[in-house]
């Protein structure tokens, strides 16, 4: 029986963080002694919006600072980049019609179908955009722990294919994070829920996020989380609901205002944010209104839950078939599901909860915040890898069948969907004509029978076969899907017993060389990005101080100052405003301190007035 001595060496244990890289929002968490905890952002929040913005000089902002740019600079700001991960130009044409982004005129490489989005002056691939979000989360974690963080567990939709998974791993590398494991989002949620809950049972995780839908069914027993089946749609989520509402608002506005604002990216973004606000309110109140105020023009529309439910029903209905298929694949009837867990912001919608309840005949769990549960689960998995969480083990599956192209454009399946990973298959190859020196293997993912209906994954070239008679060469190829759900291919020449080299041409994805180049570029740009970020942060701080001083100037305390003191304050304000629009955060900070100095007497005066009025109100 094969057992190993585990050799951990002498390397000190390095912290591993868990990251939920979402379509709309991203979060980082870590495994604390008492359980998983969210890592706060620099501003003290918990969520990092998955938004990236590029300045005129090419400096990049990510997170809340980038989201703040959305309305003013929609052409320089990009969101929902996750939807483009592992995609080729043909996949996203339809999508782009609804988003204010355009493809860069020169594709990165026509050969491997990479798309680049034009974000301000930069042409960026989806992994590069995601890398900026990951880097923001990394910085937050480093600031929080006061030490470098270089290792992470990152979550992906369970239904992500090989290219989408690889793109996520690439994003980590570009951001300077070693992605030790990709975990499926619904499984991560189950980990977060399952720890202190039941010891045994079958649970379904229904995960409807901003851009993707997953359903997973798991058996939990004594700390083993065995995924029985998974299904989903990587193109279905809250974004689709926003799109519906946006369409209605745009049509209304065209008739009310007498002209269309479709081509005005800034207007469209303002309206999009208004319909999202209305959508979110409807999860808590039965009726609300869409409220748009754009350059002095107003648009209002009453919206109640009844109409909203009718509107979104076709979108939510699309989650039902994957759920049924998943039950079927798990060999279970709905009544055999003990518990249902809801994940993703879109599961706050009452209509979604109703559909899920009917489908599984169980009242779904909502105890944990659906926005945070995936990140918390990623932290638990990080704890498992670090050896801190000893009794828990996740056995996940591959969501899609893997096969190779055979004669006549038919796919021969080697590893079936819902196989527990790691999973492997071996296949023997030979030559078809005399003297042939290489064999090309086309690998695909999908459930259909024909090559044209499956997703091309990669072409593997077995090169350097010695010339011989047709059919004599014997090369054994091993296809192995690792615990990340990513395919590894190795080949052995059975005649010589030696490893055979395999050249990989990904169908949709970056080559190693491209990723390396991006890592270098990100290091070069990091300095400028940090500067930009420091300026932004200094401005936020200055805004806060200026607002406080403004408030003080309207108080009685201001009148208590003499003229010289007042003009000193005014002078300091003017200087800070000048520095504010400059590009040096140190200068901004210096003038903030000057203003602080100048307002000291004002602050004292305010304190005295406050104390005085407090004393006045006190009866001794």
């Amino acid at each position: 029986m094969g057992t190993f001595q585990i050799d951990f060496g002498d390397s000190p244990k390095e912290r591993i963080i868990g990251i939920d890289l979402g379509t709309t929002n991203s979060l980082a968490a870590f495994q604390d002694l008492t359980g998983p905890e969210i890592i706060p952002t620099a501003e003290g929040g918990r969520i990092v919006p998955s938004v990236v913005s590029v300045g005129e000089d090419g400096a990049v902002l990510a997170g809340q600072a980038a989201k703040d740019q959305l309305k003013q600079r929609p052409r320089e700001t990009v969101y929902s980049a996750k939807r483009f991960m592992g995609k080729g130009p043909d996949d996203i044409r339809e999508e782009l019609a609804f988003l204010p982004f355009s493809l860069a005129s020169t594709p990165a490489s026509a050969e491997n179908n990479i798309i680049r989005l034009q974000v301000g002056p930069l042409a960026m691939t989806a992994p590069e955009i995601s890398a900026h979000i990951l880097a923001e989360l990394k910085r937050n974690a480093e600031a929080y722990f006061g030490e470098p963080v270089t290792k992470a567990v990152v979550t992906v939709p369970a239904y992500f294919n090989d290219a989408q998974r690889q793109a996520t791993k690439d994003a980590g590398r570009i951001a300077g994070l070693e992605v030790l494991r990709l975990v499926n989002e619904p499984t991560a949620a189950a980990l977060a829920y399952g720890l202190d809950k039941r010891n045994q049972g079958v649970i379904a995780v229904y995960d409807l996020g901003g851009g993707t839908f997953d359903i997973s069914i798991l058996r939990i027993q004594d700390g083993i989380f065995e995924v029985l089946a998974t299904n989903g749609d990587t193109h279905l989520g809250g974004d689709d609901i926003d799109k519906l509402l946006l369409e209605i608002a745009l049509e209304d506005i065209a008739s009310e205002w007498g002209f269309s604002v479709r081509e005005d990216a800034s207007a469209v973004e303002t309206i999009r944010q208004a319909v999202i606000a209305a959508k979110e309110q409807l999860s808590f109140v039965p009726e609300t209104q869409i409220d748009v105020d754009y350059q002095g023009r107003k648009y209002q529309r009453h919206l109640d839950r009844g109409l909203f439910d009718k509107l979104i029903a076709p979108v939510i209905e699309r989650t039902v078939a994957p759920c049924r298929q998943c039950l079927k694949d798990a060999g279970l009837a709905p009544e055999q599901i003990d518990e249902v867990v809801l994940v993703g912001g879109s599961t706050r919608i009452p209509y979604v909860r109703k559909v899920v309840q009917q489908l599984f005949q169980a009242i779904p769990h909502t105890e944990l915040n659906p926005d945070e549960v995936v990140a918390l689960g990623a932290a638990v998995q990080a704890g498992i890898l670090a050896g801190d969480v000893a009794d828990t083990l996740l056995l996940d599956v591959t969501p899609l069948s893997l096969g190779i192209e055979t004669m006549g454009g038919v796919v021969s399946k080697l590893i079936h969907r819902n196989s527990t990973i790691p999973a492997s298959a071996t296949e023997q190859f030979t030559t078809a004509v005399d003297g042939q020196t290489n064999v090309l293997i086309h690998v695909l993912q999908g459930e259909r029978e024909l090559v044209k209906d499956c997703r091309s994954l990669a072409r593997f070239d077995l090169k350097g076969i010695p010339p011989m008679q047709a059919g004599l060469a014997r090369i054994e190829v091993k296809f192995l899907i690792d615990a990340n759900g990513i395919l590894n291919v190795s080949a052995k020449d059975l005649r010589s017993g030696l490893e055979h080299s395999v050249e990989v041409k990904p169908s949709y994805g970056l080559t190693d060389e491209q990723v390396e180049a991006m890592i270098l570029a990100s290091i070069e740009n990091a300095e400028r990005d940090v500067r930009e970020r420091q300026v932004r942060e200094a401005r936020v701080e200055a805004d806060r101080i200026l607002a406080a001083v403004e408030k003080a100037r309207n108080s009685d305390a201001w009148l208590a100052l003499d003229e010289a003191q007042q003009s000193a304050v005014q002078q300091a304000i003017n200087e800070l405003l000048l520095a504010y629009h400059g590009e040096d955060h140190l200068v901004i900070h210096a003038h903030m301190e000057k203003l602080d100095e100048a307002t000291r007497s004002l602050a004292e005066s305010m304190m005295n007035t406050a104390v005085a009025s407090a004393l006045k109100g006190t009866k001794i």
């Binding site: 030790l180 027993q221 670090a386 083990l393 056995l395 196989s419 527990t420 990973i421 615990a483």
Partner: protein, 166 residues
């Protein structure tokens, strides 16, 4: 018998499903790559190879039919190379009638009855198969014959189901 080795059990066809599951979980705890995240690269590679073999083994062994096929193949009796187009003689008449029904391309009570009949035959074949498990070593030819018969019936049931879902 790699699959039995990696599971840590003696090669045999008589297996209790729950016991097999517990064995699989126990071996997963020992072999899964998560347990080797901080180990040396060579150990990680070994864990990856062993745990993928373990998963393949569990997938095969938990299904009595796949388990029997594997067992026979390891014993040098490869059933996949045997002709499965050949109709088991005792079923000739019924299969002939079924094909007529399927060609007429209509449902109706006769096809419904045929579906019931062949599903019953399939269940019987499964029971018969498992009845041979305790003395598998001495029943290899019988097991092979039964597997071929079962595969033939399973194909018919699949065809009937396909007909209904159209």
């Amino acid at each position: 018998m790699e699959y039995f080795r990696v599971m840590g059990i003696e090669p045999r066809l008589q297996l209790d499903p729950l016991e097999l599951q517990q064995t699989f979980y126990r071996r997963s705890r020992e072999l899964h790559p998560d347990r080797f995240a901080r180990a040396a690269k060579t150990q990680q590679d070994a864990a990856l190879a062993e745990s993928s073999l373990l998963n393949d083994a569990y997938r095969t062994l938990k299904d009595p039919v796949a388990r029997t096929e594997y067992f026979l193949k390891e014993k040098g009796l490869d059933i996949a190379t045997q002709g499965t187009k050949q109709v088991p003689p005792e079923l000739l008449e019924e299969v002939f009638e079924l094909n007529l029904l399927l060609e007429e391309a209509q449902g109706g009570p006769e096809l419904e009855a045929a579906k019931e009949r062949f599903e019953t035959l399939l269940r019987e074949a499964d029971r018969e198969l498992e009845s041979l498990f305790p003395d598998a070593e001495n029943q290899l030819p019988a097991l092979r014959q039964l597997l071929n018969r079962r595969r033939y019936i399973a194909n018919l049931v699949r065809d009937i189901h396909g007909h209904f879902s159209n």
